[in-house]
């Protein structure tokens, strides 16, 4: 059974008196453990598609089935709970809370889930250790390098052990070496079974995925197998 199933998804935006079709009849099946990249020029709809898969946005029409459940009509609160349990995000701009330490940033999704303090501390420690960040646990983001920040963001995205990891330009703000490190980490996570979806402009990064989607004008124009 696919982990993600999009059926006839449309997403329209009203811009002034014009309607922009950001996603136009998108159909997509993603199996558990897939490694997918979404590529395309700016305005092609790839970020909209990622936001929709991440339950940060709602389709204008169509159905979204996540883990066998139609999540299209879930309430905002139900979607938030599903997001917390099932999906992890890695952003280009890291989005770490500057006043919190690395450990506290990683702890955030567990805190929002209401997990007991002892349990989440041990999970945070494990998650940071897996990304070789144990010695940076008490550092604030401004005391970390770009690569380290993105590793903290990955630790935060995976600490809830989500089924799906969404990465939006994960290497966009990193130098080449750090970027490769981060890609290596994401792929290692995929090797361990997590479904990985990467949105990127970077053809080199996109072509590493096993499935490569090319979008244009809100439609999936082409799909290639690679990796």
């Amino acid at each position: 059974m696919p982990v993600i199933q999009l059926q006839e998804i449309h997403r329209d935006f009203q811009v002034g008196d014009q309607v922009v079709h950001a996603l136009d009849d998108v159909n997509l099946k993603i199996e558990a453990g897939d490694y997918l990249s979404i590529m395309g020029p700016s305005g092609s709809g790839k970020s909209t598609l990622l936001n929709l898969i991440g339950l940060l946005d709602r389709a204008t029409s169509g159905h979204y089935i996540l883990n066998g459940q139609d999540v299209t009509a879930l309430s905002d609160t139900e979607q938030a709970i599903t997001r917390n349990r099932t999906i992890g995000f890695v952003f280009q701009a890291f989005h770490l809370v500057p006043r919190l330490t690395a450990a506290e940033n990683v702890e955030l999704p567990l805190m929002l889930a209401g997990m007991p303090v002892d349990e989440r501390r041990s999970r945070v420690a494990k998650s940071l250790a897996a990304l070789h960040l144990s010695d940076r646990a008490e550092h604030k983001p401004d005391q970390l390098s770009g690569g380290q920040r993105q590793r903290v963001a990955i630790a935060r995205a995976t600490v809830t052990e989500p089924a799906v990891l969404l990465a939006d330009e994960p290497t966009g703000n990193l130098d080449r070496k750090s970027g490769l490190d981060v890609v290596g980490i994401l792929e290692a996570l995929n090797d361990r079974g997590i479904t990985l979806i990467v949105v990127t402009h970077d053809a080199g990064l996109g072509q590493r995925a096993r499935r490569q989607l090319h979008m244009l004008d809100g439609r999936i124009r082409r799909e290639r197998q690679g990796g």
Binding site: N51, G54, L56, D57, D76, T77, A80, I81, R83, N84, R85, F89, F91, H95, V97, P98, R99, L100, E104, L108, P109, M111, L112, A113, G114, R156
Partner: protein, 404 residues
């Protein structure tokens, strides 16, 4: 249950510490509001207790008999006949002594006259009184003795002088046993008043006291200004009042033409006025708490716009509407609590300073004011945080993540 209370507080605390100038500004506004309420109500309550204390020194068992009836009435034959109320006389006063409820009676006459000695002259308040006046008004003699225990209708050329009058007329010379003139009559000084300051209505130090009959001769009158009556106990006040009215009515051909004011009634009136004053100043000060609340709202609105990306992130990580609300309201609650507690400390220190500066004023904030100030502070903090919190919770996560 998702996102537990201690986590909300911890997260909110982090946000406050992360933006110290903003937090301090709100804290300051809230603490000034609470401190104002505490200090102003302490001042009002202090004034109230001060007045109560002053009345207590006069004796709360005191009744004052005034000629004339002060009440709103319908038809009154005396008004029709053009009669004025009957004067109070020494015989009236004497008649009041017959009740068991009455301990002491002090008839009183008052006027102003020129007091002179060896070319030193001053206009002075002259109080015609009797021996019992000293005990009724709880005054003290500094030197010599008070007016002698004689028949009230007997005029005697003796005088007791207030300390200031003594200073002005006698300077460093001894005054006891010396003679002075009041108007064109001579009086021998037999005592000097020792009470310091003002006893309500009379400046003890600037008054001279002569026997009531002497005062009547001096002012060429047979009437009295007042009769002060001391009831035997607090419980006897009502029966003494009844007796006074009944006796004087009988003596005045059945006309009720006197007014009896009990000290309790006067005290109650003052108490009400000053109580209302305390509530008023407390209320005015509470407005500053509302202003602080509005400041909290404004600053938090700015905070929401500054932390848009953070709110977007929290939503991406699974925070729902209620959790975002809880985080922002928690922040306001934390700020209000800290502001209220620091305001209470500042207010209590201010009240202490007031008590140190004016020891006669027992400036303690009443408990209701403290509780109300804390309650209003927390209430306004939460209330005014709702708008920014709701705005934060309603942010679109995608737009918020991009800082829009």
């Amino acid at each position: 249950m998702r996102l537990i209370g201690p986590d909300v507080l911890r997260f909110s605390w982090g946000a406050l510490v992360g933006y110290p100038s903003r937090a301090l500004l709100m804290l300051l506004a809230m603490s000034i509001g609470v401190a104002s309420v505490v200090m102003l109500t302490a001042l009002g309550e202090g004034a109230r207790n001060y007045v109560r204390g002053e009345f207590a020194t006069l004796g709360t068992n005191l009744l004052t008999v005034i000629p004339g009836r002060s009440e709103t009435g319908g038809f009154n034959p005396s008004t029709l006949m053009g009669e004025t109320p009957r004067d109070l006389t020494l015989d009236d006063a004497q008649a009041l002594l017959r009740s068991y409820s009455v301990r002491r009676v002090a008839p009183l006459n008052i006027g102003s006259a020129e007091v002179s000695r060896k070319g030193r002259v001053r206009d002075t308040v002259i109080l015609g009184a009797t021996h019992d006046m000293l005990a009724v008004r709880r005054w003290h003699i500094m030197q010599g003795k008070f007016l002698p225990q004689i028949r009230w209708d007997r005029a005697m050329p003796v005088v007791v002088v207030g300390n200031k009058v003594r200073e002005e007329l006698f300077g460093a010379e001894p005054a006891l046993g010396r003679w002075l003139r009041i108007g064109d009559r001579r009086f021998r000084v037999i005592g000097i008043m020792g009470s310091v300051g003002r006893s309500i209505g009379v400046d003890v130090e600037e008054t001279v006291y002569i026997p009531v009959a002497s005062a009547q001769q001096l002012f060429n009158t047979s009437s009295l200004f007042r009769i002060l009556v001391e009831a035997r106990s607090r419980n006897a006040i009502a029966s003494a009042e009844k007796y006074i009215i009944k006796t004087l009515q009988a003596r005045h051909q059945g006309v009720k033409d006197v007014t009896v004011i009990t000290q309790d009634a006067v005290l109650l009136t003052f108490d009400k006025i000053l109580g209302a004053l305390t509530y008023s100043v407390g209320g005015i000060a509470a407005i500053s708490l509302m202003v602080a609340g509005i400041l909290i709202m404004n600053v938090m609105l700015v905070a929401v716009s500054q932390r848009t990306a953070e709110i977007g992130l929290l939503k991406a990580l699974g925070a729902d509407h209620r959790q975002i609300l809880a985080i922002f309201v928690g922040e306001a609650l934390l700020l209000s609590s800290l502001g209220a507690v620091s305001g209470l400390i500042i207010g209590e220190l201010g009240s202490l300073a007031l008590r140190q500066a004016f020891p006669v004023l027992p400036a303690y904030a009443p408990l209701w004011a403290v509780v109300a100030a804390m309650g209003v502070a927390l209430g306004t903090g939460v209330l005014f945080s709702l708008l920014p919190a709701r705005r934060a919770a309603a942010l679109d996560p995608v737009a918020a993540l991009s800082g829009r």
